[in-house]
């Protein structure tokens, strides 16, 4: 059809050019970010892309996940068909029909079936958005436009095929069942009408394709069809639980106060977001109605980059502040302080966007560059810097918890394990019981262990997650020095925050410790026969276990506490509805332990209610913060009969009584 070619060729060329320019214009802004450290392991990256992008592993965890998988694979295949469509539009002689029949016919068959399935999938997606949206605001005009255009594109595809079959010029007619049925509907049309129908279908198909290419892919969340795949490829090695160190040298900038201070990967993340809402549903702050929504945070970064990008490229100051009033493109300070750094957002993201490290970069800017933070934190920061514990208690009182016990100081030559008691274990009156239980269990098992006593310092977890990297850096260096001086190699911690900090964060300072969480050690000691059980812990009734974020999600320790509890009580602990990697935070991580909770429902209360649904007699935890949060939450709901115990206390019951 020569007229078609005359019109289509320039349109398509312009479209492709505009498409390329649109992508370049946006994605080149990523280059404004700071270079990411570290090399790339291409084999690992490729595997990640195959499993998570092409295999859609994380998407399949959700209802409607299969619908997305179907649409994804149909689109991958139909891209080939559409390329043929575009080429044929320009060079009518270039057609798949020129291929041998044994190749051409199967292609036609698959396209026909897949196109029909895509229409079904689109209908499914519309129904989902109307009646079961992932979150209320997911019913956007944008989403419905994308779905409509895809649907129109597919219907037009059938229009073309049906009219060609009716005109008797489709060689593969017998292999296109759906198109054949539709062709049946065209019976009775005159040749002229069929011709017109074909032209209209052809142009509808062409225009829908150009709309997708020029408007929807580059300028809507549909951009994810490319960026999400790339993001799975660029997935970070290891867990995103540690942020890069900062160099405290005059002239350096601290944290990310403007968008180009993020890393390139951070900026690319913002283009990979599909607004699926998994993160906001998993986020304890968003879930309890607070000003923090990881989905909006990522969106704000992208919008901010788009608004300020051209100015930043020219070296000019941004016009839209990154931290501001919370309007689109600005993140509010309040939102930033609501994050518990539990990592649920990152665990739930199908395309490995890392929200939490961005929040900490923004907090670093507020604390280090602006000295602006909620007033409760002033005391915390000063106590941590001056007395190396959150309460500001005199460091000389650190070993008081064991004044009634015979606990030996750690000795380089004779002691195997350092028991790093931690601030809660040393100072918090409730948590001291856990320390005592641990001390007794270690002695019973015949372990060679000791403590640093009043020379022990806080690990610095809270200040690091709160963005006070300067103070953390000082504390970490002091601790690393002490550990090196004392010849510490193996460390037992009873706090997942100490555990993660010593194990992961201190590695950045060149200190490789063998850190073991007490739940792992206790499990091992029972399994290896060092601890003999007398079975009395079975009287605790129904035990439910709550995962600590810094033990579970951030360090993948899920089984050890469960196995320890199973050994101690004789039965596997019950699970709370959201458990293991989907567990819901107690509300105390990320420095939230030391802050007031001003808005929304209390996070600990939400979690306590979830736990109580399992009708437990004992809620078992493996973290001092969780212990406090659960005990407080239970008081609020007057659940007096329910106890909260640490794994070590349950084990002590089974071994010592």
């Amino acid at each position: 059809m020569p007229q078609q070619t005359v019109l289509f060729t320039p349109l398509l060329v312009a479209s492709v050019a505009f498409f390329a320019w649109s992508l370049y214009r946006q994605l080149s802004l990523v280059g404004l970010g700071k270079p990411d450290a570290g090399g790339t392991d291409y084999v690992r990256s490729l595997r990640s892309m195959l499993v998570y992008a092409f295999g859609q592993k994380r998407i399949l965890r959700h209802p409607f996940g299969f619908n997305h998988l179907l649409m994804f694979w149909a689109c991958v295949f139909l891209v080939v068909v559409n390329i043929e469509f575009m080429l044929e539009g320009i060079f009518p002689s270039l057609s798949l029909a020129k291929l041998p029949d044994r190749i051409y016919f199967p292609i036609c068959f698959i396209s026909d079936i897949l196109s029909a399935l895509v229409i079904l999938a689109v209908v499914n997606a519309v129904i989902r958005r109307m009646f079961f949206p992932a979150y209320a605001q997911a019913r956007t005009f944008e989403a419905f436009v994308i779905l409509s255009v895809i649907c129109v594109h597919m219907l037009a595809y059938f229009g073309i095929n049906a009219s060609e079959i009716s005109q008797g010029r489709e060689l593969a007619a017998a292999y296109m069942p759906v198109s054949n049925v539709l062709a049946g509907l065209l019976v009775g049309m005159t040749a002229e009408e069929l011709g017109l129908f074909h032209v209209v279908s052809w142009w509808t198909h062409a225009i829908a394709l150009m709309v997708l290419m020029n408007l929807l892919i580059p300028y809507s969340k549909h951009l994810h069809v490319f960026t999400a795949i790339a993001n799975c490829f660029m997935r970070r090695e290891g867990k995103p639980n540690v942020l890069p160190l900062e160099a405290f040298v005059e002239g350096n900038v601290f944290g990310a106060g403007q968008v180009d201070l993020f890393s390139r990967k951070d900026l690319f993340d913002s283009f990979a977001c599909t607004k699926c809402g998994n993160c906001q549903n998993a986020c304890p702050a968003a879930f309890t109605g607070k000003a923090m929504n990881p989905r909006l945070l990522v969106n704000d970064i992208r919008v901010n980059l788009l608004v300020n990008g051209s100015r930043l490229k020219r070296g000019e100051a941004p016009i839209l502040p990154l931290i501001g009033n919370g309007g689109e493109g600005s993140v509010s300070e309040e939102a930033l302080w609501n994050c518990t750094t539990c990592g649920a957002c990152m665990e739930s993201c199908p395309v490995f966007i890392e929200q939490m490290p961005k929040i900490i970069q923004l907090r670093r800017h507020l604390v280090e560059t602006e000295a602006q933070f909620p007033e409760e934190l002033l005391n915390l920061f000063e106590n941590m810097e001056g007395r190396s514990n959150p309460w500001g208690i005199a460091p000389s009182e650190r070993a008081k918890w064991c004044s009634q016990l015979d606990v030996k100081p750690f000795d380089k030559n004779t002691t195997e394990y350092l028991f790093y008691v931690g601030c809660a274990g040393s100072f918090d009156s409730r948590n001291k019981h856990v320390s005592v239980a641990m001390a007794q269990l270690l002695d019973r098992a015949g372990i060679s262990w000791g403590i640093l006593g009043k020379d022990e310092k806080c690990c610095g977890d809270s200040v690091r997650r709160l963005g006070n990297e300067y103070v953390f850096d000082k504390m970490a260096r002091e601790n690393v020095e002490i550990f090196r001086e004392r010849g510490v190699r193996k460390v037992i911690t009873q706090c997942p925050h100490c555990f993660s900090t010593l194990k992961n964060d201190y590695r950045q300072y060149g200190l490789e410790l063998e850190v073991i969480h007490h739940s792992e050690l206790l499990r091992n000691l029972v399994q290896d026969g060092y601890l003999k059980l007398n079975g009395t812990a079975g009287e605790m009734g129904a035990v439910v276990f709550h995962d600590s974020c810094y033990l579970g999600r951030h360090n993948d320790v899920y089984d050890a506490p469960r196995e320890a509890l199973r050994a101690a009580t004789g039965t596997a602990p019950k699970e709370i509805g959201r458990n293991r990697n989907n567990a819901f935070c107690c509300g105390a991580g990320g420095g939230r332990m030391w802050m007031e909770e001003h808005s929304g429902e209390r996070i600990n209360l939400t979690r306590v209610k979830e736990a109580l649904e399992e009708k437990p007699d004992t809620i078992c935890v493996a973290c001092p913060y969780c212990l406090t949060m659960f005990e407080d939450g239970l008081k609020d709901v007057n659940a007096d009969g329910v106890k909260v115990l640490d794994v070590a206390e349950v084990m002590a019951e089974a071994v010592l009584r």
Binding site: F248, V249, E250, F254, V367, E368, T369, E370, A371, F373, E375, L378, F381, G386, R387, G392, A394, P395, S396, Y470
Partner: protein
């Protein structure tokens, strides 16, 4: 216009213990902090700087290691930090201390700028005398406004200040001409937190040290020789052993009544 904040390095008293044998403070290994009340004086000086664009000097009398205290002040944003340090200043009581501090302020007044305000904490947490601030004011002939919890009005050009003083059970609004010396209470403000770039700059900055060759004071009026007050003994007072009243778990109401009676008998409840 220059505002002078007087700050002192004190031992972190929550960590200080008294040697039961010698009755002296065990100072070994005890970290030093900036006297908490002084941090509020410093903060107010910095707020006035933000508001009026005046300059702020922080001065401290102490041993050479008190430099750390002045570096903290530099990190918070003071323009000058001067350490008044000399062996002959050592062993000073409040009189000798106020002699040295007022001499330094007088020197600042002539060298740098006209001094409009001197701000001090209401007292230090080690000596707890609350005498140094007023001592400075009388030596300099400044108005003294103690226990300030709010600056109501300040007019540098009209040389007038109006403040609220926090007294027991009431507040007093007073007005005075400048220059004036204020001692401040905690309620005055919430001290700021140092920004990292400022900390890094302060770490590299040198704190000016003025010894007695600079101040040229009569040695009979400073240090131990200029101090009429002597500490003869420090001790922890014995505290009477308390008693347990009733059983709060078994009979909370009855126990509360017993407590109220006791307090009433000792005239400790306002009626």
């Amino acid at each position: 216009m220059l505002i002078v904040a007087c700050i002192k390095q004190v031992p972190d008293t929550t960590q200080v213990q008294i040697d039961p044998v010698t009755n002296t403070l065990i100072r070994d290994g005890i970290p030093f902090i900036v006297n908490p009340y002084d941090t509020h004086a410093l903060e107010e000086a910095l707020r006035l700087k933000d508001r009026f664009g005046c300059r702020v000097a922080a001065i401290s009398m102490g041993p050479p290691n008190a430099e750390a205290t002045l570096k903290k002040a530099l990190a918070l944003g003071v323009d000058h930090a001067i350490l008044l340090s000399d062996r002959v200043f050592g062993g000073a009581d409040t009189l000798a201390t106020s002699n040295v501090l007022s001499a330094a302020i007088r020197k600042l007044h002539s060298d740098v700028d006209e001094v409009g305000l001197v701000l001090c904490g209401k007292q230090t947490i080690d000596g707890d005398t609350a005498q140094v601030g007023p001592g400075i004011a009388s030596r300099l002939g400044y108005q003294q406004l103690t226990l300030v919890d709010r600056i109501v009005d300040l007019n540098f050009s009209g040389k007038i200040i109006r403040v609220s003083r926090k007294l027991e059970g009431r507040h007093e609004i007073v007005e005075a001409p400048l220059p004036a010396m204020l001692t401040v209470v905690r309620e005055l403000n919430r001290p700021r937190y140092p920004k990292v770039p400022m900390r890094l700059a302060a770490a590299k900055a040198t704190v000016e040290v003025w010894n007695n060759q600079v101040l040229k004071l009569d040695e009979q009026k400073i240090g131990l020789k200029g101090s009429p007050t002597w500490v003869s003994k420090i001790f922890s007072p014995d505290r009477a052993v308390g008693e347990i009243l009733g059983d709060g778990f078994a009979d909370p109401e009855g126990t509360a009544e017993m407590l109220i009676e006791k307090l009433l008998a000792k005239d400790m409840l306002p009626i």
